[in-house]
């Protein structure tokens, strides 16, 4: 029979190692979404650009390790190894009962929570560094603490402290300081026996306090530090908990099997809070498997969850605002919509739209009352359609300028995103700008994943093949290129404007119109709430999709068009009876409750009409 400490250790390690397949299997679909990986080139310049900044070395290291994400199982294995290392270091550093080491699982669980980005979206991150920087960073903290604890002698400790502090901070940033802080806590908790220990503590505190004053730390958890502090999407709770728990464990010995329970509570608590994240992951996973119904069902469940939450908050606000003046009441409710209104996030909305497009019931339930807030300022919603169609719109349908502009605006610089760089290169080749395409191809040729593609296209360019036979592949796309030039001013909406031009100006010959093209043209018009333009696209859609059933959302828009512009169509077009009834009910409701404020009207309308185009048209703003 093994001794209890060895058995406990084994159980703990097995629990940690179990993370490996879980993370690999659940994350593989999203980790394989190659386009969103952080960019890395193994050149001296890239190295010096990164390392130049405080904590840049850790950032560089993590960018390098991110390349493993192309191989999810390997990436997950490395992460698991880091967690195991953290476990053992925790055992060594903290006041953990060696007979029952399970409490060491708590920092591991919390670290896992930071790594998996509780509350964040792993695969739509602009910067993937959080995946490893948190794990390696915390490991660095523990290593520094361990090294300092193992130094013998006062002078040795002092020197180690200074070197670890200064050099560690320059290389690893805040994590090195945290290591020093843990050392301080350990020293204090081991009792301040003598003057030398006191001096060590004071020196530690000085280094921790003064270094950031002289050297700005640029990076933390894979982001620029200011972004991390300021970013609403970045949940700092697990980081705070990890720091607090680590400090507490320096002081308080924990005995018994409480570790398992605590670790479980941590995970449950944090996983419970990550409903949004889990839903998103599951939706993406279902999408990859082309399980459209599951995507829609997950979305629907999450929508219901958001609706219940919003209803509760709204009811509470109504109570609170009963005694307020009308203006203040309106302000309160508007603020709620602006800041606290829970909705499916952009990724979920995209997945749902993709699933809808792929199912036969496309656009029957196109609109969702939760999408698009009254005067929502979040401009990320403004680019939704291009995210849905992505490369198909930008490259296959000839929006070359758009692809180039968008790729640049998504910061294809200093290594951000392979996918956009590749799309940029393709877009430029199609547009005939081989000079700039060559630059991007040379950069991609130095990466691990796109090097073959890039080298092949470099050869095409150099041999002239791309300008001759190679381009015949793209004849269809080239024929759809926007011919008429115009300038558009709206920042961040350029692809919507280009779609406008593409949809409205350059209508391809009807024999070249694919169902997908006509559908997306109409979708654009619907989402931009341009009824006359919708009608143009709608008539084309009717020609191309003669056999298909006319989806309800499109009927709703057509009915609204008829009501507003051409009433005679109401008699001639075969609208579904349910569409007519819905509109009449909507119209009656709005007339009856005309005394309500816009916000109140919207809230009450959303219950019955939230999934109709009528509601979308009249109440949703700034969606595109």
């Amino acid at each position: 029979m093994w001794k209890s400490d060895k058995l406990n250790n084994l159980v703990c390690i097995c629990l940690i190692v179990a993370v490996w397949p879980v993370l690999a299997v659940s994350s593989a679909p999203l980790l394989e979404h190659l386009g969103d990986f952080s960019f890395f080139v193994g050149t001296a310049d890239f190295f010096s650009q990164k390392v130049f900044a405080v904590a840049g070395f850790l950032d560089y290291l993590c960018l390098f390790l991110n390349q493993l994400l192309f191989y999810p199982w390997l990436a997950a294995l490395l992460l698991t190894a880091l967690l195991v290392a953290v476990y053992f270091l925790s055992l060594s550093i903290f006041r953990i009962d060696k007979q029952n080491p399970s409490i060491a699982l708590v920092p591991v669980a919390l670290l896992l929570a930071t790594v998996t980005g509780y509350g964040r979206h792993l695969f739509l991150l602009e910067n993937m560094n959080v995946f490893y920087s948190s794990a390696i960073g915390f490991l660095i903290s523990l290593c520094i603490t361990q090294c300092l604890m193992r130094c013998n002698g006062f002078i040795c400790k002092l020197i180690a402290l200074s070197v670890a502090g200064i050099v560690g901070y320059l290389l690893f940033g805040v994590y090195a300081l945290f290591g020093l802080l843990l050392f301080f806590c350990k020293t204090v908790s081991d009792s301040l026996r003598d003057r030398k220990t006191l001096v060590l503590c004071l020196v530690t505190l000085l280094i921790v306090a003064l270094l950031p004053v002289f050297f700005n730390c640029q990076y933390f958890a894979g982001l620029h530090l200011m972004d991390f502090v300021d970013n609403k999407n970045c949940n700092v709770l697990p980081y705070i908990l990890l720091a607090v728990v680590s400090v507490v464990l320096c002081f308080i010995p924990v005995k018994g099997c409480t570790g398992y329970a605590l670790a479980l509570v941590c995970l449950l608590f944090l996983c419970g809070g990550g409903k949004e994240f889990r839903t998103e992951i599951n939706m993406h996973s279902a999408l990859e498997k082309e399980n459209w119904n599951k995507v829609l069902s997950l979305y629907s469940n999450y929508s219901d969850y958001c609706t219940k939450l919003n209803d509760k908050k709204y009811a509470a606000l109504q109570k609170r605002s009963d005694k307020l003046k009308r203006q203040d009441k309106i302000k309160l409710l508007e603020d709620f919509y602006e800041n606290d209104y829970k909705t499916p996030n952009r990724a979920m909305a995209q997945f749902r739209l993709i699933a809808l497009m792929r199912t036969e019931d496309v656009a029957d339930g196109l609109f969702n009352s939760l999408e698009g807030i009254l005067d929502r300022k979040d401009e990320s919603y403004s680019t939704r359609l291009s995210y849905v169609y992505g490369a198909e719109i930008m490259n296959n349908w000839g929006m070359f300028n758009c692809a180039y502009v968008l790729s640049e605006s998504y910061r294809v610089h200093a290594g951000t995103n392979y996918y956009n760089l590749k799309e940029s290169a393709k877009s430029l080749m199609l547009a005939g700008n081989y000079k700039l395409a060559t630059k991007y191809l040379m950069v991609l040729a130095s990466t691990g994943k796109y090097d073959k593609w890039a080298k092949q296209h470099l050869d095409y360019i150099q041999s002239g093949e791309l300008s001759q036979a190679g381009r015949s592949r793209y004849n269809h796309e080239l024929s759809l290129a926007v011919q008429r030039d115009d300038v558009f001013l709206q920042k961040d909406r350029v692809e919507m404007i280009l779609m406008n031009a593409f949809v409205l100006w350059k209508q391809p010959d009807i024999e070249n119109v694919t169902p997908q093209y006509s559908l997306s043209a109409m979708l654009w018009a619907l989402y931009s709430q341009q009824i006359p333009e919708f009608w143009n696209a709608f008539t084309q859609y009717l020609i191309v999709n003669r056999e298909a059933k006319m989806p309800l959302s499109f009927q709703e828009a057509a009915y609204l068009y008829a009501k507003l512009e051409q009433p005679e169509l109401l008699q001639t077009l075969p609208f579904d009876a349910s569409v007519v009834k819905k509109y009449q009910a909507f119209d009656r409701y709005v007339q009856k409750n005309s005394n309500l404020t816009q916000v109140e009207m919207r809230h009450y309308c959303s219950k019955e009409f939230g999934n109709t185009f009528f509601y979308f048209y009249y109440f949703v703003r700034n969606f595109i």
């Binding site: 310049d45 620029h224 200011m226 502009v405 640049e408 910061r411 610089h413 290594g415 060559t438 030039d485």
Partner: protein, 495 residues
């Protein structure tokens, strides 16, 4: 004894084989090697950092010999980067540096035609610029950098990532110096914590030049060479996107004026203000008695298009800036009338960025087909105007088939730095060219970088290059602190 045998038998041969020797039997090729950047037969300053390049062709081996007088340096490899110590020996003296290229293709060595680096006068020790990604809807991650041209050292003297947040973004540029010295300098910060930071004779101030009479705060600055004035343009600028024109981006003003900021009195006064004109890019003559600028005539017709911004974009190709000047008396602050120097509109062209040489003899400007921002116009080229004769010409020897734009003279007038997109048509790079003193220039060469492939992998554009003879007296942290902690002082209008 064994040790000695070991040294001679093993180590010595290794050392010998590591020494690079010139191939003896090589076939001569009567053309220059294809290298990047193309620094073949360029004229270089006698104090410049080492010029590096790489061979564009794939081959088995490469040997490059640099020779100057008795000095000879041999470098092996496709990337040719002589060290600063090696370069120091070569750059010494007035003899040109000869470069012989040997390339091994298959089993044969080929000796390409020798080219040279011709030496000329020294260049200012420092060059400041902004590194900016060519992003169109965000301006995160801007850095102002000062580079020592005699070596490869760069220093960031402002980094907007120190202050901006994801919700409060900040743009920074327009770093300029008076008379190439940094004891009087300014930078402009926009949006978050915005203001113009002016450092003059040990005194710091942060000002907001927007008042009731001006349409915006100061934008393009020009320090008066002798008195405490700074001329600015004020601009309402917008950026737009083409749907199919390969120029991609159009930056246009819909209103602009010229103002003069008096540092002593802390007042702003008008220099040029006509609502039918768009005035921009002030530039002083070296004696400070004349201000050159560009102005375009385009009266706004509200009846045609109620949306003013849309109006200007609809007429963007009709916006042609001419070159003007106004005489100025620094003692009395009196201005003369605006005098047109070049009628670019008459040629259906547009002039931007006039810059007068330090001896006052020449004026270099950029000219494109229309508009005020020529970096997105590949047809834009640099021209030089002889101020004594009034003749101007296209400086073909330094232009390319891509955009050439923002340029500046060195303090001795022997060099110009030009912003150009010649390398890849998308990212702005800096090139230096020697001025022969008579309005002609030698072939430009790329700003030297330690890694010859630096330009390929750099995803930033260089912007606003400005020479200076000394380093900037602030660290990035200090400047960030100044920007953050100083309140912007409102500057009133006054004569």
């Amino acid at each position: 004894m064994k040790t000695i045998y070991y040294l001679f038998g093993v180590v010595f041969p290794i050392l010998v084989s590591a020494c690079t020797s010139i191939p003896r039997n090589s076939e001569s090729v009567d053309e220059y090697p294809e290298i990047f950047p193309d620094n073949v037969n360029v004229t270089i300053p006698s104090n410049i950092a080492p010029l590096t390049f790489y061979y564009c062709q794939d081959a088995q081996d490469y040997i490059t010999r640099f020779s100057c007088g008795e000095t000879e340096i041999v470098v092996k490899g496709q990337d040719v980067s002589p060290s600063c110590n090696q370069w120091a020996k070569l750059i010494d003296g007035t003899d040109p540096i000869s470069v012989d290229s040997y390339v091994k293709d298959g089993d044969k060595w080929y000796h390409y035609k020798q080219f040279q680096y011709f030496k000329a006068q020294e260049i200012d020790e420092y060059l400041s610029y902004r590194l900016i990604p060519p992003a169109y809807s965000n301006f995160n991650d801007l850095k102002l950098i000062i580079r020592n041209l005699t070596n490869f050292r760069e220093r960031v003297f402002y980094d907007n990532m120190n202050l901006q947040t994801s919700e409060n973004s900040q743009c920074v540029n327009c770093h300029t110096f008076r008379n190439y010295g940094t004891e009087s300098m300014q930078i402009h910060v926009r949006q978050y914590l915005g203001g113009t930071i002016i450092f003059d004779k040990g005194k710091l101030r942060k000002v907001n030049l927007k008042c009731d009479s001006t349409i915006s705060s100061g934008v393009y600055p020009a320090w008066h060479p002798t008195h405490d004035y700074i001329a600015y343009s004020t601009n309402i600028t917008a950026q737009s996107y083409h749907t199919s024109d390969p120029n991609i981006i159009e930056v246009l003003d819909q209103a602009s004026q010229l103002i003069l900021y008096d540092l002593d009195r802390n007042t702003v006064s008008m220099v040029f203000n006509n609502p039918d004109y768009l005035a921009c890019y002030p530039a002083w003559a070296p004696d400070g008695r004349r201000l050159y600028f560009t102005a375009a005539y385009l009266p706004y017709n509200a009846q045609e298009t109620p949306d003013k911004t849309r109006y200007f974009y609809n007429h963007s190709t009709e916006i042609h800036y001419d070159l003007y000047y106004k005489d100025f008396d620094p003692a009395t602050k009196r201005w003369g009338d605006a005098v047109k120097v070049i009628d670019a509109a008459g040629m259906n062209k547009s002039i931007t960025l006039p810059r007068v040489s330090p001896d006052g003899r020449y004026l270099m400007f950029s000219m494109g087909n229309y508009g005020v921002f020529h970096l997105w116009h590949p047809e834009s080229d640099l021209y030089v105007l002889d101020l004594s004769t009034g003749q101007y010409r296209n400086v073909e020897e330094i232009n390319s088939d891509c955009a050439e734009s923002y340029h500046n003279w060195s303090s001795n007038g022997n060099w110009v730095v030009i912003s150009t997109r010649r390398e890849d048509s998308g990212y702005t790079r800096l090139y230096l060219a020697h001025h022969n003193g008579d309005g002609t220039f030698d072939k430009p060469f790329a700003l030297p970088t330690k890694n010859p492939r630096h330009s390929v992998f750099l995803m930033y554009s260089y912007n606003i290059p400005e020479f200076s003879i000394e380093d900037i007296p602030f660290t990035a942290k200090e400047l960030s602190g100044i920007v953050k902690n100083m309140q912007s002082e409102f500057v009133p209008y006054g004569e």
